[in-house]
Symmetry: C2
C-alpha cells in the first residue's frame, strides 16, 4: 500500500464548518477514518477530525476506479485527505455527505485498536488511560478538553481585563514552601532541591511590585494515596493581589467562577451535549458559611467534629447534601490553616482563610496573608517551622510588603465540575501515575 504526501493539497474546511449551504461546493478535508460500512454498491466512510465527523459516500459504480481501489484498503484510524463535493441528503443526521473525487492515504494504523473509538463500546478508565492518545480521539474525551480549554481561556480573559499580570515562578526550589506537605526531591547538580507545591511565597513577594499577579501551571505534591480527586502533578491557577483582603479576593473569585460557567455554557453547548451533562449558572453571591456554622450543621446530622479540627472529606460529603452547589467556608480556626494565613485582629483564634466548596469538592483555597514579618515568624514557630529556612522569603518583608490576599483554583477539579466527570484522571491529558506511557 503506497502512502501519499499532502503535497500541494490545502485543507479548505474543518469538518464542523461543512454545511448544507455548501451544496455542490468542492472541499478538501483532512482527518481519520472513524468507521467504514459496506452496503452492496455503496461504501460509507465516516471521516473524523478534531471538530466532528462527516460521511463520505462512495457509490461503487460511479466513482473513479482508483478511489474505489484506494478505499478498499482503508481501515479505522488511517489518516486521509479527501477532495470531493458536498451534497445535500436526508440520509445523514447532518443532512450532508461528501462525494469524493480523490482520496490520499497519508498514514496507516493497526487493525486491532485497543479501544473502540466510536464510543459505542465504552472502555473502562484503566484501558482508556493505557491508550490515552487514542482515547483522546473519542468525542466525549475531546469534549472534556475543549471545555477545559474554554474555561481556562475565560479565566485568563477575566483576569487580564482586571489588570492581573501573568507570571512564571520557579518550580525547582530550595526548600519546602508550605512546611508540612510532602515534596518531591530533585537532584540539582550537587544539591538537593524540591519541586514547588505552589507559587505561594513567590506570588506574595510579587505583590510588592506587580501588585496583581496570576500564574497557571503545573505544581507537585508527593501524596501516595491516589484518590479520585488528587493528582501528584496538577495544574494550579493562582492569583495574589496587593492592598486586598479575603473579602476582596472572594468577590473576585465569585465573579471569575460565574464568568467561567456563563462562557462554557455559551461556547461549549455542543460539548456539554456530547457529554450529556448540563449545569445551572451559579447565582451570586455564593453562600458564605463560617467554619462554626458548618460544625453545627454537621452536628445536627450526627457528625461531631471538635472545634479546631480539620473537616474530613466524609464530613464534607454530608455537607454537600445540604449545600449542593458553591459555598464558601470562612472563619477557619487559625490552627487549621497554614502559617501565612492572617489571624483576625479581634480574635486571633480565627483566621481570614477561606475555602470555596462545590458540594463536597474543595475547589479553591485562599485568604488574607500576613504582611508583618514578626507576626509571620511567630506563626511559623507555632507551626513548628524553622524561620531560618525561610530567611530569604522573610527578608523581602523588610522591603515594603503590602497587605495582600489571594487564592488558588485547581484546574482539574474545576474541569470535573464543568464536565460532570467523577474521576480526576479523566480530566488530565496524561495523569502522572501513567507516566510509564511515555518516555
Amino acid at each position: 500500500m503506497n502512502m501519499d504526501c499532502i503535497g500541494d493539497w490545502v485543507r479548505t474546511h474543518s469538518i464542523d464548518k461543512v454545511s448544507q449551504e455548501m451544496d455542490m461546493q468542492s472541499v478538501t478535508l483532512f482527518g481519520w477514518v472513524q468507521e467504514i460500512r459496506n452496503l452492496g454498491g455503496i461504501r460509507f466512510i465516516i471521516l473524523q477530525d478534531s471538530t466532528g465527523t462527516i460521511q463520505i459516500t462512495i457509490l461503487k459504480k460511479h466513482v473513479a476506479p482508483e478511489i474505489l481501489q484506494n478505499s478498499n484498503f482503508l481501515q479505522k484510524r488511517f489518516s486521509i485527505a479527501v477532495k470531493g463535493t458536498v451534497k445535500k441528503t436526508n440520509m445523514t443526521t447532518r443532512g450532508i455527505e461528501i462525494i469524493p473525487t480523490q482520496i490520499k492515504l497519508l498514514n496507516t494504523a493497526i487493525e486491532q485498536l485497543p479501544i473502540d473509538i466510536t464510543g459505542k463500546t465504552p472502555a473502562n478508565i484503566e484501558a482508556r488511560l493505557d491508550a490515552r492518545a487514542l482515547d483522546l480521539t473519542t468525542e466525549k474525551t475531546l469534549a472534556v478538553f475543549k471545555i477545559q480549554h474554554t474555561a481556562l481561556q475565560a479565566i485568563r480573559d477575566f483576569l487580564f481585563e482586571k489588570g492581573y499580570l501573568e507570571v512564571h515562578t520557579p518550580r525547582i526550589i530550595g526548600s519546602a514552601t508550605e512546611g508540612g506537605a510532602e515534596l518531591f526531591n530533585v537532584k540539582y547538580f550537587d544539591q538537593t532541591a524540591y519541586l514547588a507545591q505552589s507559587p505561594q511565597l513567590y506570588k506574595e513577594q510579587l505583590t510588592m511590585s506587580l501588585e496583581k499577579v496570576f500564574e497557571v501551571g503545573p505544581f507537585f505534591r508527593a501524596e501516595e494515596s491516589h484518590t479520585r480527586r488528587h493528582l501528584s502533578e496538577f495544574t494550579s491557577i493562582d492569583i495574589e493581589q496587593a492592598f486586598a483582603n479575603a473579602d476582596d479576593v472572594m468577590t473576585l473569585l465569585e465573579q471569575v467562577i460565574h464568568y467561567v460557567f456563563v462562557t462554557v455554557k455559551e461556547k461549549c453547548a455542543n460539548e456539554l451535549c456530547t457529554l450529556k451533562y448540563n449545569f445551572e449558572t451559579p447565582q451570586l453571591p455564593f453562600k458564605r458559611l463560617t467554619y462554626t456554622e458548618v460544625l453545627n450543621s454537621l452536628k445536627e446530622r450526627g457528625v461531631d467534629i471538635p472545634w479546631g479540627e480539620d473537616i474530613s472529606t466524609e464530613a464534607f460529603r454530608e455537607l454537600g447534601k445540604l449545600y449542593p452547589f458553591f459555598y464558601f467556608v470562612t472563619d477557619w480556626p487559625s490552627k487549621a490553616k497554614t502559617f501565612y494565613i492572617k489571624p483576625r485582629k479581634d480574635n486571633p483564634e480565627i483566621c481570614e482563610g477561606f475555602d470555596l466548596m462545590w458540594r463536597y469538592i474543595e475547589l479553591v483555597s485562599g485568604g488574607t496573608r500576613i504582611e508583618h514579618k514578626d507576626q509571620l515568624i511567630d506563626r511559623m514557630q507555632e507551626k513548628g517551622l524553622n524561620p531560618e529556612s525561610f530567611k530569604y522569603h522573610l527578608q523581602t518583608f523588610d522591603w515594603g510588603m503590602p497587605p495582600h490576599a489571594g487564592w488558588a483554583i485547581g484546574l482539574e477539579r474545576l474541569t470535573m465540575i464543568l464536565t460532570g466527570r467523577k474521576n480526576i484522571r479523566e480530566v488530565t491529558l496524561y495523569p502522572r501515575d501513567r507516566v510509564r506511557l511515555l518516555p
Copy 2:
C-alpha cells in the same frame, strides 16, 4: 508607630489613571513611598504603585496636624494609602499633584534598602538578583515584565484565533524525551523519574486527536554552564499541528512573531520608552537561508565549518553581523538534528528541521516530524537511542499518527529581543540559580 488597616477605604484609581482632567477631584490611592523630599515648608512624597508614580505635596502650614505627624515617620517603601485632591500644577512633569487630606500607614520597611529603587544609582545584576523582589519595583524591571506579559498574551490570542487548543502535559516523566541532553532526576516515590525538557512527544501524540495544540510552561535542562542565554528552568511556548509540514508552521511562526512585535510596539510604548529601547516591526516573509548557504557565507568570512557539523554560537555571532534581524536556517543535515525530525524524501541526508534566528540568538526550533513508526525506529537507532525505552510513545504510532509539524519558542529569549536585555537572568522573575533566595 501605629499601623493602620485598609478598613473601608477603597482605591479609586491606579496612579497612571490620575490625570489633569481630574483637577479638584477626590481620590484614594494605594502604593509605596518611593522618595521623600523636605524643602522648608513643603514635603514632597513620591507615591509609587505598579502603574507609575505621582507627587503628594504636603504644605506644612496648611495640612491637618495628624497628616504632618504621620508623614514625619514615613520612609522609602512604606506601604501607604492616601486620600486627597488632585491639583493641576506646572511644578511636576505629569502636570498634577495630590494634596492629601488623610494618610494611612499600612506597612513599614527597613531604612537601608539593598538597592536604589529609583534607579538613579543602578545596581549590578548580582545585587539586583539578590534583592529581586525589591529590584522588581524599579521602573525598568517592571517594564520588562509588562512587555513579557503583553508578548505572551499576544501569542495566546493569535493561537486561540487560529484554533489551537491549550494543553497541559506532564513534567515528571519516565525517561529522556530527546535522548542526548541532560535531565534532572526526581525521586518519584520508589522510582527514579525525570523532569521534562519539552512536551515534544506528548504534543506529537496530541495531534492525533486535538490536531492543533499549544502549551506554555516551565521545562528543565540540566546544563551546568550558565551562559547569558541559557537557563536550567525556562518557559517554553510549544505548538504542534496535524496535517502540516515545516513550511506551514514556519508561515504561522512568522505571523506570530510579527503580531507580537506589532502588539508590543502598540501597547507597550511607555515601557519601551522607560527601557530606552526600540525596534522595527519585522518585515514578512523572514529571510530563509539553507544550512549550506550559511556555511558558504561563513566560509567567505573565514569561518570554516565541515558540512554536517552543528553551527557554534561564535559562528552565529559572525552570521548575525550579516543578517542583523530575523532569519530562518533550513535544510539542516539530518545528523545535526534530533531523531524525530523528518529527513527529506528526495535526499535523506537533509531534514525538514529549521531554526528561527534573531541575529545570533536561536529563538525557535521546529520542523516536520516523522509520522511513520519504522522510520522513527531507524532514526532512533542511528542516534544510538534504544527504541525499547520509547515503546509507549512508539505504540501511539499504531493508532493513526497524522503527518505533523511544530516548533518551540523560548519565552525568555523572546523577551530579551523585545526589551533589548543582554542577560537572560534579567528577564526571569527568579532565575533558578538564585533559588537560594527563596525557600
